[in-house]
Symmetry: C2
Subunit: 184 residues, 2 copies
DNA sequence: ATCGTGTTTGAGTATTCACTCTAATTTGAT
DNA sequence: ATCAAATTAGAGTGAATACTCAAACACGAT
């Protein structure tokens, strides 16, 4: 993959894969469907990717990266910043958010690669939230701040999950309530 | 299906289906796998069920029913009762809880039957939680109590979701924290 | 004991899946 | 313009899928 044509084809395939996962989950994401939507034939797909799983993993990596804001400023942002960034991710990048949530539930079974990646990401996220909580409430024990961070992160995922089912669900309102609950 | 043998076979098939969905998701739940685990041949399966989807739907219906405590005492239980019942369901009936959570995301796509069922059940659940909240905090507006109930129910789902990924995750602790957040 | 009906058998069907292969075409540095 | 390498075309592979069917068998009311 060194020519322009190859790079364009790769982008088209990844776009198609992302949209298909968001629309119909891993189950509905077949090579045939991806190729049809990308306007490409299977031969081209396998010229650029070793397997279907490789393409899926690339998209999942994109989704996980997109769920975290400004990785450079790690440790310098407020809890409100973190929550708002997640709300923006869920409401503004619907496709990636659906991939993220969908993988967290169904895609991790029997696929250690995916499961490990999701769990590692979750842990990093909890740690980041914990730091922000400790900055806001310096008196808390580490155990307590960790517990609050875990409750907040998993609850936010639950709210995001419901938005996948009901697009009218107001994520921002519930995120605000959870934010308040975590700091009082 | 009128003889005892048929009823026994039906029960064996549903048990196998439930366990397989819990272990390996919808994707891994094939007719062959279900039949092998149930000690039955495909012909017997299709003598009792019209399709794979029918068997899956039956299991999902069981899971949804099991998520609600004492349907007869509707409206008479405290918020704490409701939360504790959900924790018991998630921690004690892992199989069904996994089916419920998994279906809510991955299974509902492209299957209006399932999607509608899940959303209707969610609405009933929110309404039940709202009533309990209003009894605990009589001063709240309906809009406010509804918002609190929605936050609580979706957050509990998020906590339960994470337990699917990490069996060591302490659901009870986080459920308690969410319960407190909903009533203060 | 008989007989209609429910149940099981187990091979068989059509389809779809991820993936391969070879030949033809396109690319871009020279 | 040339040519090696990158890319594409598109039919084809074997395995797995959901599902079917006719024949054998088991049940239980009579």
């Amino acid at each position: 993959m060194r020519y322009r044509a190859g790079l364009q084809t790769q982008a088209k395939i990844l776009d198609a894969t992302r949209k298909l996962i968001a629309e119909s989950g891993l189950e509905g994401t077949t090579i045939k469907a991806v190729c049809e939507r990308a306007g490409v034939l299977p031969g081209s797909f396998y010229n650029l990717f070793d397997s279907k799983e490789q393409a899926v993993l690339t998209v999942v990596r994109q989704a996980i990266d997109a769920a975290d804001p400004d990785p450079e400023q790690l440790g310098n942002e407020s809890l409100k910043d973190l929550v708002e960034a997640y709300v923006r991710f869920v409401t503004g990048q619907g496709d990636l958010a659906r991939v993220y949530i969908g993988i967290a539930v169904s895609g991790s079974r029997g696929k250690p690669e995916l499961r490990g990646r999701v769990l590692r990401h979750h842990q990093a996220r909890v740690s980041r939230f914990r730091q922000a909580i400790e900055k806001e409430r310096p008196g808390l024990s580490e155990q307590d701040s960790t517990r609050r961070a875990e409750t907040l992160v998993t609850s936010l995922n639950g709210v995001a999950l419901h938005r996948v089912l009901d697009p009218k669900f107001d994520v921002a309102v519930h995120a605000r309530a959870l934010l308040e609950g975590a700091t009082t």
